[in-house]
């Protein structure tokens, strides 16, 4: 069939016929322009339709695969009308915040303005994710993320609302039975009742499983008595409904009695609930953070959330489900800051020129733009995937990706906030300007909802676990599987070996198919192909390092926190690059407004992050000549031993065997503490 008639055929047939032909025509046979047209038309369809849900991006990454169904199509709303409605929702919220909310005043007074809270309740912001049947808005994750972009104008309000609905009442939404939902959700949706999430205790922060609050069942089995102290509870001073986690004695299958965490819905009216004084905080000062004490608080047995002993899982599910929204709220706030900062940079003159003409300032703005773009892209990609329910109507487990979004956006908020303040110089440091408040408000993002350190370990360990399990399974099948399974397993291992040990490129890559000759499955716009290749290269190296380190450390990898941190950083970078690529691809194919500008941002971001990843990947090699693990261990051990800086003073010239009396005192004190 001639190429000309192929052209006509392609443009005249229906979509399914196009796809049909596409399967059988190797890419090399088509001219570049025809391929482009074919890809564009298919890509356009693909970009606007939603695929069925597929496995986690991060886990596939651990196995060395780029999950294309996450990247393309980039999530979109079902209809244009939906988008219009969402924009209307967000614009209304934005209008309210710009006209009615005085963040500086609330921060200074460390208190909310009651009129603002009433306005938020009237607006319906207290029940955004509660289903409509219970009086809420029933917003999907994507819609919620979009609305939060505008709410983040004020950090304290964002945190207060998040503590109420993203974690406080989420437990009832996720694990509550019908009676609990009907009893509590309607009044929580209107804001008549406010919720709080009570997990943290003085001795249990990151180590949530070690909580000591206890709940003991009464003789008649109808009431639990709750005793304990929870600290740093947002909304703790006035919350009416609290999700409280306590240890309960559970009888295991083998008759053994164990302490397991159980979740309870506790009303303040049950009695025995007291709140401490509000904490004086660095940032989000208007929000209420205090300790909550439970003294023999009677909790009816119907108020157990989920199963007795199943509380830890519920806590993790709750925390995992709210994390992704940090990406969009950070992006929203940074976009507003970018507008004001560039306003300053283009008007302020020094050395006879505007600040915006100087390279270092431009670099700061550029860096901020890249980070905003990446945070947005990742947040909506994750939210979009979370909205695709599986066959049972259950939301998928995107906890690893949500954690990645949280880590990236919280650190972007802190560093970009700091740079914004820097651009304004001395003026940025003054309380007259809002930048110092925004920076202070941003600092908590790295700490709460799972510290970034814990989340990095979570991301890395989940990926290691998956990769390790897959490897083990293959090994098992290769040794003991029956006929076909065994053959497939051996072939898989061989292929892995070929990929990991050698750098042969003749084996077709399963992701974009860019580096292999059979490129029929690529949905990328031509201008984005290079960026795609960089991501693929990173993924390839990542896979190699994963296997290398799994083989080197085995199960002990859990203790190698620096190695895990590096893996997490690389994975987060790869996720960011993929999200950016997917979004920019969509923009180019649909020719959205300013799509060429987006392409510049995406290309630069991918180039920069690719290079960063190269450095990180190199540090995972074995042996790594610049490794400081040995030095680090010995220095830290010595310092922790004496709990002080050990070097002699820079000006010291005389050997001193005799120590300063102050130091001898210090040594004595430590010795006493040890005994």
């Amino acid at each position: 069939m001639g190429l000309y008639s192929l052209n006509v055929l392609v443009s005249n047939t229906m979509r399914y016929q196009r796809l049909y032909f596409q399967q059988f025509i190797p890419a090399v046979a088509l001219q570049a322009s025809q391929r482009q047209m074919l890809l564009q038309s298919n890509a356009r369809e693909t970009v606007l339709t939603s695929h069925q849900r597929s496995a986690s991006f991060a886990r596939d990454l651990a196995a060395g695969k780029l999950n294309m169904k996450w990247i393309c199509p980039y999530p979109t709303l079902k209809t244009e009308d939906d988008l219009k409605e969402l924009n209307q929702l967000s614009d209304t919220v934005a209008k309210f915040f710009s006209e009615k909310v005085d963040s500086t005043k609330m921060d200074r007074e460390a208190n909310f303005d009651p009129a603002v809270i009433e306005g938020l309740k009237d607006m319906g912001l207290f029940g955004t994710q509660i289903p409509e049947e219970y009086g809420g808005l029933g917003l999907s994750n994507v819609q919620y993320a979009r609305v939060l972009e505008e709410v983040s104008t004020d950090g304290a309000i964002t945190v207060m609302l998040a503590a109420h609905q993203a974690i406080g009442l989420k437990g009832i939404l996720i694990a509550g039975n019908k009676e609990q939902k009907e009893k509590y959700l309607p009044r929580l949706a209107t804001g008549e009742w406010i919720a709080a999430f009570c997990l943290t205790e003085p001795s249990s922060g990151s180590d949530a499983a070690s909580i000591q609050t206890r709940a003991t069942l009464s003789e008649d089995g109808k009431t639990w008595l709750l005793n304990g102290e929870k600290i740093w509870i947002t909304n703790g001073g006035f919350a009416d409904i609290m999700t409280v986690f306590a240890k309960t004695q559970v009888e295991e299958a083998n008759g053994e009695l164990k302490d397991k965490v159980t979740a309870f819905i506790v009303e303040r009216t049950f009695g025995g609930v007291t709140s401490g004084n509000p904490e004086d905080k660095l940032g989000i000062r208007a929000s209420n953070t205090c300790s909550v004490n439970f003294e023999n608080t009677p909790v009816p047995a119907e108020n157990v959330l989920g199963e007795v002993g199943g509380g830890f899982k519920i806590a993790m599910k709750i925390l995992n489900s709210g994390r992704f929204s940090m990406g969009s709220s950070v992006a929203g706030q940074l976009k507003r800051m970018l507008a004001t900062v560039t306003e300053h940079a283009t008007t302020r003159t020094q050395f006879g020129r505007k600040l915006s003409e100087f390279g270092i300032i431009q670099d700061k703005i550029f860096d901020m733009t890249l980070k905003i773009y990446a945070a947005e892209s990742m947040a909506y990609m994750t939210a979009g995937q979370m909205d695709i329910l599986d066959e049972n109507g259950d939301p998928p487990d995107c906890s690893i990706e949500a954690a990645m979004v949280k880590i990236y956006s919280s650190e972007a908020a802190w560093s970009c906030g700091s740079e914004c303040l820097q651009i304004l110089g001395g003026l940025g440091y003054m309380k007259d300007m809002p930048y110092e408040r925004m920076l202070r408000d941003a600092r908590i993002l790295l700490i709460f909802e799972g510290t970034n350190e814990i989340l990095r370990l979570y991301v890395a360990l989940s990926m290691m676990q998956y990769a390790g399990a897959k490897l083990q399974q293959r090994l098992k099948l290769a040794k003991q599987g029956d006929g076909r399974e065994r053959w497939t397993a051996i072939m898989d291992l061989f292929r892995e070996y070929m990929r990991v040990e050698s750098s042969t490129k003749f084996l077709p890559n399963r992701s974009f198919g860019l580096t292999a000759p059979h490129a029929t499955k690529t949905w990328l716009h031509d201008s984005m192909v290079n960026s795609g290749k960089m991501i693929e290269a990173n993924v390839d190296s990542f896979r190699k390092r994963v296997y290398l380190n799994l083989r080197k450390y085995g199960k002990k990898i859990q203790d190698e926190q620096l190695v895990l941190k590096t893996f997490a950083d690389i994975a987060i970078n790869i996720y960011a690059m993929s999200a950016v690529l997917g979004r920019c691809n969509k923009a180019k194919i649909l020719s959205l407004r300013n799509c060429d500008h987006e392409k510049l941002i995406a290309t630069a971001f991918i180039k920069k992050t690719y290079k960063e990843n190269l450095v990180l990947l190199e540090s995972l090699l074995d042996p790594y000549p610049f490794d400081c693990k040995e030095e680090s261990k010995r220095v830290c051990d010595a310092i922790m031993e004496e709990r002080r800086y050990l070097c002699s003073h820079p000006l010291e010239v005389v050997h001193r065997y005799q120590e300063h009396p102050k130091y001898l005192e210090h040594l004595e004190r430590i010795k006493l503490l040890r005994e």
């Binding site: 306005g119 808005l137 407004r593």
Partner: protein, 253 residues
């Protein structure tokens, strides 16, 4: 109880920095944020308050313009209007449309819908014409209460307090009537998120001007739109002597 007709216009948002098009034919509107005319928001708010106080039976929001005007109608519905009427005018013809045409349309609609009260904003912030309410009343031969800062409805008597140059004027109108809303009439409510989501289920009728027998033909041609002249910087003087000497220098005294 009267049916209230409220006219809403989609204009460039008040907070946007207006820029003149390079060919001086008008103002840049592409890609610029638009929203409902602030005075029309006040008009909608008043209509809804009348309905809440049970003086009005139904609030119908009307807009004349291209497809994008649907968003403005949606905002009115989200604020509490019961249904909407979109008089569609293609984007190419829209620049020709002015208060004369809109008032003809509103007049015809008032008769069609059997409205007892028409409330519009006193003027639109893009053209500042301040003509629609007056022309509509004239076409219908209804009494008019313009620049209303207070509205009271009792039976079929409408008491309007008007803000005029000399102060406040209170007049009594017999329904049906036309009212134009001024700034201090009320403070418009924020549309609540649940109401925005309910708004998409409300009925919106689509008509064209020819359905109402109105022709879009204008005798007015815009010759040029240009920026106002840049203000010269002022000067501070220490005392009256210096003022006089400066004025003498400038040849003004």
């Amino acid at each position: 109880m009267a049916r209230v007709l409220v006219g809403v216009k989609r204009v460039v948002d008040y907070a946007v920095k207006i820029r003149v098009k390079p060919d001086k034919s008008g103002v840049v509107t592409d890609g610029v944020k638009h929203s409902m005319n602030p005075f029309d928001e006040i008009a909608v708010e008043e209509a809804i308050r009348l309905k809440e106080k049970k003086f009005a039976s139904e609030v119908v929001a009307v807009t004349c313009g291209p497809t994008q005007n649907q968003e403005t109608l949606r905002t009115a519905l989200a604020m509490g209007a019961d249904r909407g009427i979109h008089v569609e005018i293609p984007a190419a013809d829209y620049p020709k449309v002015g208060p004369l045409h809109v008032s003809k349309i509103l007049a015809k609609l008032a008769q069609k819908e059997e409205a007892g009260l028409i409330i519009v904003g006193k003027q639109a912030i893009d053209d500042d014409c301040n003509q629609t309410a007056q022309m509509t009343a004239s076409f219908l031969d209804w009494p008019q209460g313009t620049f209303a800062s207070e509205l009271k409805l009792e039976g079929d008597k409408l008491t309007v307090v008007r803000e005029i140059d000399g102060g406040l004027e209170t007049i009594e109108l017999k329904m049906p009537a036309v009212v134009s809303a001024d700034l201090r009439l009320n403070e418009p409510r924020y549309a609540t998120l649940p109401n925005i989501m309910k708004a998409k289920k409300k009925k919106v009728d689509k008509l064209s001007p020819s359905d109402l027998g109105v022709e879009i033909a204008t005798n007015i041609e815009v010759l040029e739109v240009s920026d106002p002249p840049v203000r010269d910087a002022g000067m501070k003087v220490e005392n009256t002597e210096e003022l006089i000497s400066k004025l003498k220098e400038a040849g003004l005294v």
